[in-house]
């Protein structure tokens, strides 16, 4: 059932592509003010990830100087089924989504994780990593309700107050 306006507010809905048997994917503009970055990116919606995460290769493509992050920013260790990896934090990031009513939905993050690429074992791994998407973590997802409604689609949605209501 499509939901539209609520009694005292507006329903913000961001469409997520959720093809059966595949990962849930959403797109957004990745904006980093102090680096002058604003680029469209693809995100896997991952409720198993606490932080929104950018792979090292993607960060380099966007123009992030990882050597500077290494020097000045907080370094952390990340663990998962694939093993353990070093990561850095990139601060002051905004994600700008387009809602179903074509309005922009901007979400600020104090920082995102930039995950160091693993040691490459094969040409196939290298190729896959070069187009590996970013990960939308719980730091963003929990601001919304993730609702699966239609075949092949889900929505990140939330109520927002209308000014004066």
């Amino acid at each position: 059932m499509a939901r539209s306006r609520l009694k005292d507010g507006r329903l913000q809905r961001i469409k997520v592509t959720a093809i059966k048997g595949e990962h849930c994917i959403v797109t957004a503009l990745f904006v980093c003010d102090h680096l002058g970055i604003k680029t469209p990116q693809k995100f896997i919606v991952d409720t198993g990830s606490v932080h929104t995460t950018v792979p090292e290769t993607k960060a380099r493509e966007m123009g992030v100087d990882l050597e500077i992050l290494d020097k000045y920013k907080v370094k952390i260790r990340m663990g998962g089924i694939g093993g353990v990896a070093d990561a850095r934090m990139l601060g002051n990031v905004r994600l700008v989504f387009t809602a179903t009513d074509n309005s922009s939905v901007e979400e600020k993050l104090q920082s995102v994780v930039v995950l160091r690429d693993p040691v490459i074992c094969s040409e196939e791994e290298r190729n896959i990593l070069r187009t590996f998407p970013c990960i939308l973590g719980l730091d963003i997802i929990r601001r919304f309700t993730l609702r699966f409604e239609e075949k092949n689609f889900a929505y990140l949605e939330r109520e927002t107050a209308i000014a004066g209501s």
Binding site: D33, G80, N127
Partner: protein, 86 residues
């Protein structure tokens, strides 16, 4: 700190990228059959698909068509389907 302004053109780029990405997601099995172990770029909501052996070659093809690689959905299409275990 300087703030990056989001222009209408940025949102249009995002819309184009989204259309291309969704087309790629919906048609990845067809692409896998046609372009196994190749880099592909989807343009114009799937009306144009470019392929290449390397990402550099693919990016060059996109530039030759005077298109912005950031609005294209670019993927390495593996011969066999795989799922990421995050």
């Amino acid at each position: 700190m300087a703030t990056v302004t989001i222009e209408k053109s940025d949102l249009e780029r995002l819309a184009e990228f989204t259309k291309n990405t969704n087309w790629l997601l919906e048609n990845v099995e067809n692409l896998r059959a046609k372009y196994p172990d190749r880099y592909v770029a989807v343009l114009d909501s799937g009306n144009q698909v470019l392929d290449a052996q390397t990402l550099e070659e693919l990016t060059e093809k996109i530039h030759q068509r005077a298109r912005d690689p950031e609005t294209c959905a670019i993927e390495f299409v593996t011969r066999e389907r795989y799922l990421l275990l995050l």
